[in-house]
Symmetry: C2
Subunit: 332 residues, 2 copies
Amino acid sequence: MAEQHRRPTLMDVAAAAGVSRALVSIVMRGAPGASESTRQKVLEAAEQLGYRPDSRARLLRSSRTKLLGVSFSISHPFHAELVDAAYGGAESRGYDIALSAVTSGRSEASGVQSLLDLGCEALILISPTLKEDELTGYARRVPVVSLLRDDVGQAVDSVSSDDHAGIRLAVEHLAALGHQKIVHVDGGTAVSAAPRRAEFNREMERRGLEPRVIPGGPYEEDGLRACELLRAECPTAVVAFNDRTALGVMEGLRAAGLRVPADVSVVGYDDSQFARLSYVQLTSVSQDAPLLAEAAVDVAVGRLEGEQPPSHVIRTPHLVVRTTTAPAATNP
Amino acid sequence: MAEQHRRPTLMDVAAAAGVSRALVSIVMRGAPGASESTRQKVLEAAEQLGYRPDSRARLLRSSRTKLLGVSFSISHPFHAELVDAAYGGAESRGYDIALSAVTSGRSEASGVQSLLDLGCEALILISPTLKEDELTGYARRVPVVSLLRDDVGQAVDSVSSDDHAGIRLAVEHLAALGHQKIVHVDGGTAVSAAPRRAEFNREMERRGLEPRVIPGGPYEEDGLRACELLRAECPTAVVAFNDRTALGVMEGLRAAGLRVPADVSVVGYDDSQFARLSYVQLTSVSQDAPLLAEAAVDVAVGRLEGEQPPSHVIRTPHLVVRTTTAPAATNP
DNA sequence: TGGGGTGACTAGAACGATCTAGATTCCCCA
DNA sequence: TGGGGAATCTAGATCGTTCTAGTCACCCCA
C-alpha cells in the first residue's frame, strides 16, 4: 500500500512547534541550549508528526556517523555470537552497527567497500581473510579492528584470543587426565589453524609426548573425514580445531564403534551453541564471545574518540569441561 | 594508524580533471551528456584520487537509495541461506542490501527502525514476529515483504513456501513407505508451527490415520525433549517441525536404542546445511532458499518500480529424500 | 548570413540535517 | 539606570551529492 507520505523533516517539526529548525535540531540530539518548556513543546510536536531524524542527512553533515561496520561470515555460528555481543557493546556506547555478511557469493572486499560507502567510521572485521596489505590499505582510511586474527600488521588493531594458551589448556586438561596419545585434528587453511597447530606441537613436545596432527578443516565434514586417518593412530584423546570439527570427529568415532569419552576423549574449541547442546556436552575452549566483541568495540571507539588504545588486545580463553573428556583408560 | 585523509569528493575530482562538479557526477553515474574524451579524463582522475561516491550524500539528494533492508534471525541457519541468496538477487537488480540481525538482545522493531533510518526503500523481513498491525504500520511508510510468513494482512506483501503442501509431501512419502503410526513433533509457538501442525492433522485424517502431535520447538533441545513423550507413542515415523528439531529427535531416538531409519523414519523441514551433512543425510522438505529469497527481492523491487506485483507469492516446496526414511518394518 | 538544433558543459538550487556566529531576551547588581 | 553576562533562540553556511535550467560553441542548411 505504502502511501508515499513524505517523511517529516526538521522543518515540519519546527513549523508545528513554532520554533526554528536549529532549535529542533538541538532538542532532538539532546544538546544543551534549549529551555525545558520549549524542549517539551518540540518533543511533543515531533512525536505528533512521527518524526525520525534522517540519518543520511545527519551523518552527511556531521562528519561523525556513529556507525561501526562489522563484517562476518554468515555460515559461522561463532561469528553470530560475536555479532550479537557487538550490538550490545555498540549500543551502550552510543554507536550503531552496520552489518555485512560474507557469503559464498559475496567477497569480503565488496562487503567492506559497501560498509565504507554507508559511512562507517570504523571497521570490525571478524576473522578477516584479506591480505595484510589490503587491510593496511583500509586502515589508511578508517580505524580497522581485526577480531579473532592478530597477524594483521601494525596499522590494524586486533582483538583476539590467545590461541596458544587455549591449546595449552586443552592439552593440559587431557594430560592431567592421564592421556598420552593425543592427536590434533587441525583447521587446514582456516584462520588461526596455523598457530593452534604450532602450539599443539610445541606443548606436546614440552611434555615429552609425541605430537600427532591430522589435516582437518573448520566444518563437521572435515572432522568426519579426518577420522579415517585418525583411527590408524589409535589415540585416547583428540583436540579438534573447533566445535564443528569436533562434532564431525565424534560422529566418525561413533561410526567406528568407539565411545566418547570412554574410549576417546574429545576437546573442541569456541564453546559455541553446538558444544552446549544437551546431548553433545562438549568440553571446549571458550573464547568468551561477549568479552571479545566488546573489547573490539572498545578499541574501535577508542580510536575514534582520540584515545590511543593498545593496538593488540589478547584475551586468555578458559576451558569449559563437560562430558566428552574422561580419564584415560587404565589399560591403554 | 588511519591518517585522517579526508576522502576525495566530486569537487576534488572535478578540479583534478578540470571540469565542473556536475559533469563529474554525470560521468560517475554513467548518465548521458558527456563526450567520450572527457569521460575518460574524468574516470582517470577519479581512479587516480581513489574517489568513491559518498552514498549518504548521493542518497540524500536523490530520493532513491537503492537500499533494501533485510532483517533476519542470527541464530537460524536457514535465514543465513536466505540472506545469502538475497544478496545475489539484489545485486543483479542494481540494489544494495542493509542487514539487521535479530538477536536475543535486539528486538525486531529496533532493527527495523534502524534499517528505516538508514534509508532503506523497502523491507524484507524474514519470519517476522511483529504483530499484524505493527507490520501494517511500517507498510504505510515503505513496501514491506514478509518472507516465510503469510498471515500478515493485506498491506504487507508476502513470499512464502506452501507449508500445507510441504507437510503433505512428508506424510505422503512416509505413507507410501508403509508407515501408519506417524507422529508430528511440532514447532511450539514458532512462526509457521501452527499451519504445519494443522495440515498434519488434516492430511493424516484424510488418509484414515490417527494424527498424533507432540509439542516441540525449533531447536535441537526441543526435539530431544519431545522424545520422552514420543517413545510412549511407539511411532514408526516422525515428521519434525524443522531440521534442527529432527536432529534432536534423532539424538533422542538413538539414546533410547532405536535406529534410524530401521526402527523409526524421520523427516525434517528446511533442507538446511544440517540435513545435508554427510553423517546426517536427513530426508527433508526443501523450501529452496535461493528461489524464495529472489522472489522476495522481486516483489520488493516490483513495488518500488511501480509495477503492482502479486501480493502473496506462495512457492511449492519439494521433498529431498535421503537416508533417514525407509519402508516401515514389516512386523510392527 | 543567420536562425535553429544539438551536443557538451556549468551555475546554482535543492536534499535534511548540523554548526557557527550572532541576535534577542532577561536578570542582576553597581 | 544601564550595562555585563548567561540563557535561549535564529539565520545562514555547510556537508557531497543530484538535478533543473541554463549557456556556449558548433554545424547545417535555407
